[in-house]
Amino acid sequence: MSLKERIGAFLCTCGKTLGRSLSIEDLKSQALRLPGVFFCQVHDALCQEDGQAFLKEQIQSFHPDGVLLAGCSPRGHGALFQRLISQWGLDGEALEVVDIREGCAWVHADNPDVASAKAQNLLRMGWAKLSRKELSRDASIPLLKSALVVGSGPAGMAAASAMAGQGLRVYLVEKDGTMGGWLRRLSFLYPSGDEGANILQRLKQEIEPSLLITVFLEHEIAGARGYVGNFQVHLRGGEGPKTIRAGAVVLATGAQPLVPQGLFNYGELKGVMAQEELESQLLRGQNLGGTTAFIQCAGSRIPQRPYCSSICCPVALKNARLIRLRWPQSRVFLLYRDMMAPGVDLEHLYHQAMDAGVRFLRYSPEHPPLVEGMDCVQRVKVLDSLSGRETALEIDRVVLSTPLLANPQNAELAGMLSLLTDDYGFFCDRNLLEPNRTVTPGVYVCGTSRWPCSVQEAILQGQAVAASVAALLRAQRAKASDFGVLDGVKGWPAVVNESACSGCGNCFQACPMKAIGLQPFDGRRVARVNKVRCTGCGTCATLCSGGAIQTQSLSDSMAIKMIQEAFK
C-alpha cells in the first residue's frame, strides 16, 4: 500500500524557537503545495502532553494515511511519535520525521535565508520518502516450546533444569562422555567452600530424572539453521547425525585455562604446575606439605592477552588457605601483581587467607619472578615491589594461575548462528540491558563462554537465561517485528519482488545476517527474506541488478525521488 493519497503534515516550532531562524509560514505553504498533503498544522511543542493531545485529535478527525512531521531529529522523539500514532490506528511506519532543528535551524542559525530554503528542501525530501513508502506486512511466526543447550557445565546444567522447571522441552548437548564440564575437575569451590563433586551431584539430580530433558553425550553441533522460535540444529557424534528443532538456543560452551607452556619453566622443571593440576592433586588428596609458591597473572594482563580472568585470584586464595589449614607445617607464598578480590565474600576470603598464614609478595610485570632448579624446582627469586628487596624462596612447588581462554569452538558456533565474539573469542552479549542475549534473537549465552566467572556466577547466569527463554517462548506465536535487532529498534526487512527476481543468488551470497535463502517459486528459484533475521542493512538491494530486492526503509524509488528534491 502506498501512502500517496492522504498525508497530514505537522510542523513543530519547538517552543517558537525555530521561528527565529526559519520562516514557518513559508514552510507551511510549501507543505500544502506538496501533492497528497491535505492539511498542515503548526504547533509549538508536539512532544509535550498538550501537543500529543493535539496530534491525536487532528489524526482522529482527519484520518490521514501518512503523517509528515517536521521538527526535531527523528532520533529525538521519532520512537515516541511512532508509538503514539500506532496507538491511534495508524501504522507506525506511516510516519516520516523531518529534522529541521538539529540539522537545519541550529547549524545554520547565522543564515536564516539559507535555513528557510533548506528546511523546505528537507520537507520535500521527507514527503518524497513518505509518499513512496510501502507498508510492510509483518510475519507471524510459531514458537516451539523447546530449547537446546550447548554444553553441560554448571551454567548449562542450571539453565537446562530451570527451563525444564518452566515446562520447556530441553535438549542438552555435551561433547564429552559425561556431564559437568570443568566442575568435574574442581576440588572445593569459592566462596562457599562446597565440594565441587557435591554441587555436581546436586545439579545432576535435577537433570537425570527429568522427563523433559534429553541429554546427548558425546555429541557436537554440526550446523544450525532457522531463526528465533524455529531453530533446526544438526548434531554429529553418538549413533549418527540427528536434527533437533528448538525454539531457543542456549550457549554454555565454557572456557578452558591456558596451559602455561614456556612460562616460568613450566614443562621443564618438575614441581611447576598449573592451577588446574593443583586442583586435581587436592581432589586426589595428595600431600601438599612443604613450601608452595603461587604465581598470579601467569599469561594474563600482558599485551597479547590484556584481560583479567577474574577467577584466578579467588582460586589461588582458596587453595593457598586450604594448604595452610590442612598441612599446618607448610609454608605458602602468594606472588601477585594486583590482588583482585572484589565484593564482600572475596574480600573475606582474602582476609581468611592472610589469617591462615599465607604470605603475600607483590611483583611488578617488569621484574617477574625467576623460577630456578635442576630437573626439580628449587627456588623462586622475587623482587618484592613493595619493599624493594629481592628474596629467594626455597620451595617444593610452584603453582601458576593462568587465565581462562575462550572455547576454540566458539568461532565455529558464531559462524553458524551469526553471533559476535570479542577479540579473545568470548561471545558478545547484545547490550547492557540484555546481558544474556546475543545479537541473534533466540540465541542466549551464559557462563564462561561469555566471560570468565565462578561456578556460582555461572549457575546464576544459567538460571537467568532460563527465565529469559521461558518469557520468550510463553506465547504460541510472535510477530517478526517484535524482535528488535538493534538496540531495541527493528530494522525494516528487505522485500522481494518475485516476478522480477532472476534467482542469481547475489543477495544470498552477500547478506551479512544470513537472512536470505533461495526458494522454489513458479517453477524456478527466487530469493526469500527471513523477516526475523533481516536487519535492513540494504546490502542485498545494492547488489541486485534487476532491482527485485528492496529495503523498505529506503527503496530505490524513494531515494531517487529524495535526491531529486534535495536542491530543488
Binding site: S73, G76, D99, W106, C537, T551, S553, L554, I563, Q564
Partner: protein, 136 residues
C-alpha cells in the same frame, strides 16, 4: 548547476553514528556549510551506486557516505562490504569524467559533533578546490 558559491553536498549517513553526530553538531550550535542535505539510513550499506550517479546527474557537487567504524557495524560488517563496493564505484566515476574526489567515504568519524563538522568542512573545501564546471 556546479560551480555556484556553496557546493551542493548530499550526505548519506548511517543513523547509528553520523546521524548522532549530526544531531550533536546541532545541539552544540556548531556552524556547518549551508549546502548540505542529509539522508538518514539504517546502514551505509544501503547506498547503491545508482543513487550516487543519480545525485551527480542531478547536479549535486559532492556525495558523502558516512558510516560507523569499519569493524563496528551493527549489521555484522555490512559497512565493510559497502566500502569495497563504493571504492569500486569511485574508479568507475573516473570513467564517467566525474572526479573521484567528489565521492567521499567516511567511516567512524561522524559520531561526535566536532569530528562531524570537521569531516563535512573538509569535504566542502575539497569540492571548492576542484575545478568548477564540467571537464572538457
Amino acid at each position: 548547476m556546479r560551480g555556484s558559491m556553496e557546493p551542493k553536498v548530499l550526505i548519506f549517513a548511517c543513523d547509528w553514528c553520523p546521524g548522532l553526530g549530526s544531531d550533536r553538531a546541532g545541539q552544540d550550535r556548531l556552524s556547518l556549510p549551508s549546502g548540505f542535505r542529509l539522508v538518514r539510513l539504517d546502514c551505509a550499506a544501503q547506498v547503491s551506486g545508482e543513487w550516487v550517479i543519480k545525485a551527480f546527474s542531478e547536479g549535486i557537487d559532492g556525495v558523502m557516505v558516512m558510516g560507523c567504524h569499519l569493524d563496528a557495524c551493527r549489521h555484522q560488517g555490512a559497512n565493510h562490504r559497502a566500502h569495497k563496493k563504493l571504492e569500486t564505484l569511485r574508479w568507475l566515476l573516473d570513467g564517467l569524467r566525474i572526479e573521484p574526489e567528489r565521492l567521499c567515504l567516511s567511516w567512524g568519524m561522524g559520531r561526535e559533533a566536532l569530528p562531524f563538522q570537521a569531516e563535512v568542512q573538509k569535504f566542502v573545501s575539497t569540492l571548492k578546490l576542484l575545478k568548477t564546471g564540467e571537464k572538457a
